[in-house]
Amino acid sequence: MKTLRLLALFALLIFSWSAKTASAQVEQIEMRVDGLACPFCAYGLEKKLKEIKGVEKVTVYVDKGLVALKSRKEGSIMIDRLEPVVKDAGFTPGEIKLIAVGKIGQLQGAPMFQVSGPEMAFVIKNDAQYEKLRAELNGMDKLVRVTGRLAQETPQGHHAHPHTLTIQEHIIK
């Protein structure tokens, strides 16, 4: 019963966030791809990444071992699809860096960065950079553009989250 109530609260939070953050989106993603040593192998990777919803442009940087994805003007890149797609293409996914616009909130005591839709909520790593942003926002409900990296981490008192966002830079819009 308690779980049901929590789920309902979570859904309500997501809905209200989504309604308020229509212009929020993941604008760009840079993902490390290991095994990208043979350029003639990259065709399938590029093709499959282009098929991800929200992706407008894919650039494969072979020497850097990176792929860069730019999102369409409307809609976000479905980040949850990245790792399975890279694995399906025969490579090993690595760290994800992103530039995204969204809002800061909290869920069950954990700081969250909400972009759009339930799959676009990231747990924020509660560090000095986040505290600085929170202080600058001072409770204001404003859009924020953040640059950060995503990784699987386990915030204190919570389960492991595949997309924990470590904010590196931010601009309050």
């Binding site: 043979c38 192998c41 065709y43």
Partner: protein
């Protein structure tokens, strides 16, 4: 004369089938690859290979040939791969062969579809790092007796043969190293039990251009230096070994490969025998030359 002819023709066919095998490989040119991605896996390939045998050898030593025999085989296989996943591939190889035997006396020639092959390859190990990959694959190859064995020269052995092989490949930045080893399990036809064999290949690849590969796709020129070897046991007829069959050949194979974009590459290779020791009296290989094209299918 008839026995010698068959020995020569089988030697030539063996080499042409080796050419078909090499066709089913990703880069490098004459050695298999464990990487089943992009042009290295999903491309339809054709690979023209010309094999010239014109030196008569007795236990590996050149002797005068009063008949001045020379065999030229042109094999043009077409390989059609299908990837179920990015680590499991099946393929069919349809080889067209034109073979001629010229002597001071009569000349012979034949052409047509040779022995069709099918193979399945599975990449069972992968370790990826930044700009580096190490993969290992296993492969089972089946050769069916579809080539006309009654023609002179014969276009097939008339036997169903199997090859079990493993290949490991390591690529880091501009360098690639591939090692392949396999066992050929051959069956019989018309009372002749073809000798089993081994194949062993080593390939070193180097990206000559560009020095730094920034964005995909960019034109790319690769150089390869390979060592390609095969050893076969003697054939047996009614339990008696044919002295003029089987042996060992090891080739040094330099090659160049140009990747023009997302969808195609061309490649050329020349093979010079480092060691050519067929058993008994057989023709030795003077050289082989190949020119190939791969087009990405899907």
């Amino acid at each position: 004369m008839r026995n010698q002819l068959i020995a020569i023709l089988f030697a030539a066919m063996g080499l042409s089938l080796a050419a078909s095998d090499s066709l089913a490989q990703g880069p490098p040119i004459n050695t298999d690859s464990p990487i089943l991605l992009g042009i290295s896996g999903k491309a339809v390939r054709t690979f023209g290979k010309v094999v010239r045998l014109n030196t008569l050898l007795q236990d590996g030593k050149e002797i005068a040939d009063p008949m001045s025999r020379a065999v030229t085989v042109w094999a043009q296989p077409l390989a059609l791969p299908y990837n179920f996943t990015d680590d499991f591939q099946v393929a069919a190889i349809l080889p067209y062969v034109n073979a001629s035997l010229n002597t001071r006396g009569p000349n012979f020639s034949s052409s047509g579809l040779a022995d069709i092959q099918f193979f399945a390859k599975y990449a069972f190990y992968k370790r990826d790092r930044k700009n580096e990959t190490f993969r290992v694959a296993g492969r089972v190859n089946v050769k069916l007796p579809t080539g006309n064995e009654q023609k002179t020269p014969a276009l097939g052995t008339g036997s169903t043969d199997y090859t079990f092989s493993a290949v490991a490949g390591w690529i880091k930045h501009r360098v690639g190293v591939y090692v392949e080893g396999g066992y050929a399990l051959n069956t019989s036809n018309r009372g002749v039990n073809y000798g089993n064999g081994a194949v062993y290949n080593l390939a070193l690849g180097y990206r000559l251009l560009p020095k730094v590969y920034e964005k995909y796709p960019s034109p790319q020129l690769n150089g390869f230096l390979e060592i390609n070897g095969a050893t076969a046991a003697r054939n047996k007829a009614n339990g008696v070994a044919d002295a003029n069959s089987g042996g060992t050949s090891i080739f040094l194979s330099p090659g160049l490969q140009y990747v023009g974009g997302r969808l195609w590459l061309v490649e050329a290779s020349f093979q010079y025998p480092l060691l050519d020791e067929p058993n008994g009296l057989q023709l030795g290989t003077a050289w082989t030359a190949s020119l190939g094209l791969r087009l990405l299918l899907y």
